[in-house]
């Protein structure tokens, strides 16, 4: 795709099952596109160094920090955000596990944590606590001290195996 300075690029992207055909500035980050253009504000921006993981989404099933990717790079891809993980106001087993285990406090990291957990548990159903800590370590939480988040991940994996 070749775009002249000042021009916008046309992309086709499916987000939470809905197809969007839109024009975006080539430099626009995927997270800003989701939040500003599609009003999907569930994914948060917590840093500018791709460290915190609050903006984690699924791109073709893989977890991606949406601040590390341009919207134009999502052309032709399928994206799932936190808003796409539950339907009909029914919480997913992972969302329920986070709630039941007091796995959030201020809630700002929660969307990223849940999307990442979704990714982890879609790859493997069985998980040890140590693996859970390792696989979630790209997502930072400043409030909970992580123990209840790890408990929630373990609980969710049990629920999903049942």
């Amino acid at each position: 795709m070749l775009v002249e300075p000042g021009q916008k690029a046309k992309i086709k992207v499916k987000v939470n099952g809905v197809l969007h055909e839109v024009e975006v500035e080539p430099r626009k980050l995927l997270v800003d596109f989701l939040r500003e253009d599609l009003n999907l504000t569930g994914s948060k921006v917590g840093c500018d160094t791709s460290t915190c993981g609050a903006c984690t989404v699924l791109v073709d099933g893989k977890s991606v920090k949406s601040c590390t990717m341009l919207a134009v790079q999502a052309d032709g891809k399928e994206i799932v955000t936190i808003e796409g993980l539950s339907s009909d106001s029914k919480l997913s087993p992972i969302q329920q596990a986070f709630k039941d285990n007091f796995a959030l406090q201020c809630g700002f990291c929660t969307a990223g944590m849940i999307v990442q957990t979704h990714y982890i548990l879609s790859e493997r159903k069985e998980i040890t606590e140590e693996e859970a800590r390792d696989l979630i370590h790209g997502n930072i939480c400043r409030c909970t001290g992580y123990q209840n988040i790890i408990n929630a991940i373990m609980d969710a994996s049990r629920r999903m195996r049942q």
Binding site: E36, G42, K44, V45, I82, E83, Q105, G107, C143
Partner: protein, 742 residues
């Protein structure tokens, strides 16, 4: 029906787990975007050229300090509720006009149609600097050779002497005297949501959406600063993504956003990038140097020394607390009565410093616990034994400490002994010694703390029974993650004997909640919770009057239990809901009761233990963290435990990883990626216990506070464990790998 004491699930979690939460940056307001040009020198005169920036696509305006300060009428000042400004030397702090005092200070503002264009505009602003001599180092600044603020004539912003007893005599009579140096380096609180603000001015009314811990103080400060009556200012606190003390102060960027929205007559918004957030709030950095005296049996008899607290370039709203709260808390839970502490607060050409979780109690606790461990090491005594020798005893309660602080309730020695048992301290010490014999560098350490919290002077609450019998509780406290709203709903449900589902807790909107102070200093459950209990009690009394009216009886004849008003003699009953509907039918419709509950400080305490391991590269990890606390009555154990976990992980950060490096050019030389907020891999496994036989506060809830406990005591426990693991003597945080590998 009883909710209190149970781990009731948080009431408002659904929006967070589904992505429907609304923080400031999530709000859809037709606003312009602000970006800031920041100083690249620590001290200097500057000149801004706007021309190039104004040519950038999407840029609407570029403002300098001289334009903004016409609207920003007054400067940022200290929090006079808690800080007496009289002994202070305070520089005027508005938007920088001609002279910048620290690297990173905002010196021009760009307004544009979107945030990318605003950034483009800021990058196109040209600034010429004429650099001036700067002083970055606190010790050098204290010599006053280079002044941060020439007009003050000194860099010492505050100097106070905290003297009790006769320290010289006590030192002369001591069996042993030892010099100590104890310090905490500069930290960055780092809540997950960077600060943000949207300001909208319609020509008469000012509406501000603000990521804050103190919306009502914000309203009164904005009123003072902009000269607009409080009735015409509405401050709304949407969901707030953590604060830890860092969202209880005001910065020039925020005043500029408000000023520009007034100037332009259009809404303006700004959300700090993480890098900007790291420059908006730095904290801690203090050093205590002195001498202690003790007896051969381990009794501490004297503490003498100087406490230096760094201020950065300006006096923030909150930092004035530290130099006046740290010294009187240095004796902590111990009996020592002869102290002389000179406390100084020092300006430097660096990012201004603010309070951070624990604000003064972590500093005081680290000082006194390092002193206790020093006494233990000098006399080859056990850490527990030396503390038991010095702890204030239960029969001395209430105990007035040498600086006049009155410790309300507690049994410190018993808690320590119980804690040692429950946390299996001795067993873990033996295990660590065994591991060390096998060549591993493993250690166990504990520390005790006494916290002062539950700060007044007051808190507001209102209980309103709506027409269908459901209840709206408005609180002046402003939870932003702690979950206190759920604990308060539990208390109110018990007080009114109605299901918790009927209760909605409201906070953080200055139009919806008439008055309030906020959430900080581990105060909310004690003071806002008690205010909510008090207003609910009054609302119930009003309901009883309505019930009596409807049953044509005297109030005294009506009894209330479990959602029913009963005529004691006749046995007639009316339900809570029916009475609520009745209340809206007569004259003076509705049932509302509000209180302004005054309150005073309370003192929780506890003992925490850390288990650490240091690897061959000097990298330390806290493997386990255990806590045994008496925090008064525990209303929701899971919420309280969450505070212990979260504070404990911040303690791991402070003790081992987090350091806000300021280079010789006064520049913050660390990014979020290498500041090392602990991740799940560095976080320890927690075991948190609360004393079954608790000691209550004087508040209606009988609770004390737990929000800061682990960050108050954790660093001392972790550093002690590192000493056990390595045999080194350590005296400041963070303890970096290079110190451990030596």
């Amino acid at each position: 029906m009883s909710y209190s004491g149970k781990s009731v699930k948080r009431l408002y979690d659904d929006k967070f787990v589904t992505g429907r939460s609304t923080y400031v940056d999530d709000l859809k307001v037709n606003a312009l975007y602000a970006a800031f040009v920041r100083s690249t020198v620590p001290h200097g005169r500057f000149k801004v050229s706007k021309e190039d920036a104004l040519k950038v696509k999407g840029v609407i305006a570029v403002y300098t300090g001289s334009e903004l300060n016409q609207i920003i009428k007054e400067g940022i000042g200290p929090w006079t509720t808690y800080i007496d400004p009289r002994p202070w030397k305070i520089p005027k702090w508005k938007f920088a006009e001609h002279e910048t005092k620290y690297n990173g200070e905002p010196i021009a503002m760009v307004i544009a149609t979107d945030k990318y264009s605003a950034r483009d505009g800021a990058d196109a602003v040209n600034v010429d600097y004429e650099t001036m001599d700067a002083v970055i180092d606190m010790e050098r600044a204290s010599k006053n050779e280079i002044l941060v603020h020439k007009e003050l004539g000194t860099n010492i912003g505050y100097e106070g002497n905290f003297n009790a007893g006769d320290v010289e005599k006590a030192l002369a009579n001591a069996d042993r005297r030892v010099e100590v140096e104890i310090g905490n380096n500069r930290l960055i609180p780092s809540p997950m949501e960077p600060r943000g603000i949207i300001s909208q001015y319609d020509g008469i009314n000012l509406t501000i959406w603000y990521s804050t811990q103190i919306p009502h103080f914000a309203r009164s400060e904005f009123s003072r600063i902009f000269g607009i009556p409080e009735s015409r200012i509405r401050v709304i606190m949407p969901d707030v993504g953590g604060g830890f003390g860092s969202k209880a102060h005001f910065i020039p960027e925020e005043l500029a956003v408000i000023a520009s929205s007034i100037k332009l007559g259009r809404p303006v918004r700004w959300t700090a990038t993480r890098t900007e957030e790291m420059m908006a709030t730095n904290s801690r950095h203090n050093v205590f140097k002195g001498e202690i005296g003790f007896k051969n049996d381990g009794t501490l008899v004297a503490i003498k020394g100087t406490l230096d607290v760094e201020l950065g370039a300006y006096l923030t709203y909150t930092e004035g607390l530290q130099p006046t709260i740290i010294p009187p808390m240095i004796p902590g839970p111990y009996k020592v009565r002869d102290l002389a502490i000179k406390s100084r607060a020092i300006y430097t050409n660096t990012i201004p410093i603010t309070m951070y979780r624990g604000a003064s109690r972590p500093e005081a606790t680290f000082i006194i616990e390092r002193i206790m461990s020093t006494v233990a090491d000098e006399l080859k005594m056990d850490d527990v034994e030396v503390r038991l020798r010095n702890l204030v005893k239960e029969e001395q309660m209430p105990y007035v400490n040498p600086f006049g602080l009155k410790y309300d309730t507690g049994d410190y020695p018993t808690l320590l002994k119980e804690g040692v048992k429950v946390m299996e301290y001795n067993k873990m010490k033996e295990w660590a010694a065994e591991e060390r014999r096998k060549g591993k560098r493993v250690g166990v350490g504990l520390a005790f703390y006494l916290e002062i919290c539950g700060f007044g002077p007051y808190e507001f609450a209102e209980t309103r029974v709506t027409e269908d019998g459901s209840v709206i509780v408005s609180i002046g406290g402003t939870p932003h993650g702690q979950g206190t709203e759920t604990a308060i709903a539990q208390l109110v449900a018990d007080e009114l004997q109605i299901p918790i589902e009927k209760i909605k807790v409201v906070w953080g909107d200055s139009d919806a909640v008439p008055s309030g102070t906020g959430t900080y200093g581990s105060r909310t459950l004690a003071i806002a919770g008690s205010a909510a209990v008090a207003s609910s009690r009054q609302a119930l009394e009003k309901m009883r009057k309505v019930a009596a009216r409807s049953m044509k009886a005297d109030v005294e004849e009506i009894e209330y239990r479990n959602g029913e008003f009963v005529h004691k003699k006749e046995g007639k009953k009316v339900t809570w809901d029916a009475v609520a509907r009745e209340a809206y039918s007569g004259r003076e419709p509705g049932v509302t009761a509000s209180v302004t509950l005054e309150g005073d400080v309370t003192f929780p305490y506890g003992v925490h233990m850390a288990v650490v391991e240091v690897d061959d590269y000097g990298i330390a990890k806290v493997k386990e963290y255990r806590a045994y606390d008496d925090i008064g009555r525990v209303i929701n154990p899971a919420l309280a435990e969450g505070q212990v976990h979260g504070g404990g992980t911040q303690a791991v950060g402070q003790a081992l990883y987090e350091l806000a490096i300021i280079n010789e050019n006064g520049q913050l030389a660390v990014t979020y990626a290498d500041y090392f907020v602990p991740t799940a891999v560095e976080a320890p496994k927690f075991k948190s216990y609360f004393a079954e036989k608790y000691h209550p506060s004087a508040y209606l809830t009988k609770s004390k506070g737990v929000g800061e406990a682990s960050l108050i005591v954790g660093p001392a426990a972790i550093v002690r464990a590192l000493e056990d693991a390595t045999g080194k003597r350590l005296n400041k945080t963070p303890v970096l790998p290079e110190e451990l590998i030596k």
